[in-house]
């Protein structure tokens, strides 16, 4: 006679494996797409959520048309202009950093990429003279 506890453990383990299988994507996983304004579960949404959790105040992000990305949304965080673009790969996002700096224009700003997401921040309203908001945005990038 088999031990009932052992059977329960085996069943539980099988369930976990099944759940893990559902959670795994294909090997060619790409960075999550922006998924449109207000979408959830995306890399961009996670980023905005991280900013909120850190006490920053992001505005709603709205689709933006720029030459350096097809999936971009812009808004403000503590009155600093930001644009967040999602790319198919890390390399694509990295390659867009220079264009992201050009988006900053003639003011204080930065552009950085990580995990296929490019973020550009520009202090066009001169509301971040010490750069602390931009520094926080940078540090909170996943």
């Amino acid at each position: 006679m088999r031990h009932p506890i052992l059977l329960t453990m085996i069943a539980g383990l099988a369930g976990l494996v099944a759940i893990a299988g559902l959670g795994c994507g294909k090997a060619d996983d790409k960075p999550a797409s922006g998924g449109g304004a207000g979408g959830s579960g995306t890399a961009r949404d996670a980023l905005v959520e991280a900013w909120k959790k850190a006490g920053l105040t992001p505005s709603p992000m709205t689709p933006a048309t720029v030459s350096f990305g097809k999936d971009c949304q812009s808004g403000t965080v503590n009155n600093v202009d930001v644009i967040v673009c999602v790319y198919p790969s890390d390399a694509d996002a990295k390659a867009a950093e220079q264009a992201g700096l050009e988006w900053v224009g003639s003011t204080t700003g930065a552009a950085w990429s990580k995990g296929g997401v490019l973020v550009s921040a520009a202090d066009r309203r001169k509301t971040d003279p010490s750069g602390r908001t931009i520094n926080q945005l940078m540090k909170l990038s996943p």
């Binding site: 700096l101 900053v104 224009g105 003639s106 204080t108 930065a110 003279p129 010490s130 750069g131 540090k139």
Partner: protein
């Protein structure tokens, strides 16, 4: 007709000034640094790579992978974050401070006690005595070669009024500030023997020394001794492995 001319002049000035603004060139920076007075002054706390539309001088900044990296004392400009006390000249492992892969060792030529917002990497080239870091390694040629030009940074800081760290503790053996072989040409002692203390088994000589141009303050310490240290302290950033030295 006259009013049209005036309007034209006004328009030209407005358009001209806005064009000038639009044309302000981006200048790359990395790390914490002072903000130009023309832009309001104070400190920029952006630690990563970023841009401004004001320039950087060549005495307080070094090139790091195309960006300007500040090697001066940020406290002099109002920095209020974590800080570390150093005494005398020392290397700065820039890639460790900014956290990138571009190996780069630059040199700070500030005489005497001063602050930075980072601690040096752990290792034999620095000794911490009291709360101050002293560079005790053999300075490389890159340091020596750039010294005559870069030592002029002290002329920038001398008139600045701010709370500097106070370091009165005996410098450790090997400290770069006690290296007479690095003193430079034609040393003229203005206030010889300003202080000669003979603590238990040690000798300390403080003297204001001036070379023709620019001037430096040289502390000469031999042996060990007692005493204290003030200012500085520190928590925060820094530490990491040593990197190659960059010659300029």
């Amino acid at each position: 007709m006259r009013s049209i001319s005036i309007l034209g002049i006004v328009l030209a000035v407005v358009i001209g000034s806005s064009t000038a603004y639009a044309d302000r060139k981006q200048v790359r920076y990395v790390g914490i640094h002072p903000v130009a007075k023309s832009e309001g002054g104070g400190i920029c706390y952006i630690e990563g790579p970023h841009v401004h539309v004001f320039g950087a001088d060549k005495v307080q900044y070094r090139d790091h992978a195309g960006a300007n990296y500040f090697v001066g004392d940020p406290v002099a400009y109002g920095y209020d974050g974590p800080k570390f006390t150093y005494k005398g000249h020392h290397p700065i492992h820039v890639n460790v401070v900014v956290g990138d892969d571009n190996d780069d060792v630059e040199y700070c030529y500030l005489d005497g006690p001063h602050f930075h917002y980072f601690a040096p990497p752990e290792g034999p080239e620095f000794r911490i005595v009291g709360d101050a870091y002293f560079y005790v390694a053999e300075p490389p040629a890159a340091y020596v070669d750039a010294r005559p030009a870069m030592i002029s940074i002290n002329a920038v800081y001398r008139p600045l009024v701010y709370t500097r760290p106070v370091v009165t503790i005996e410098a450790p053996i090997g400290w770069i500030g006690a290296r007479v072989d690095l003193g430079g040409p034609a040393v003229v002692v203005e206030r010889p023997g300003a202080a000669v203390i003979v603590p238990s088994g040690g000798i300390r000589v403080d003297a204001e020394v001036r070379i023709p141009m620019p001037s430096v303050h040289v502390d000469i310490g031999i042996g060990s001794g007692p005493v204290f240290i003030g200012g500085g302290g520190g928590e925060g950033r820094g530490h990491g492995k040593h990197k190659k030295h960059k010659r300029r």
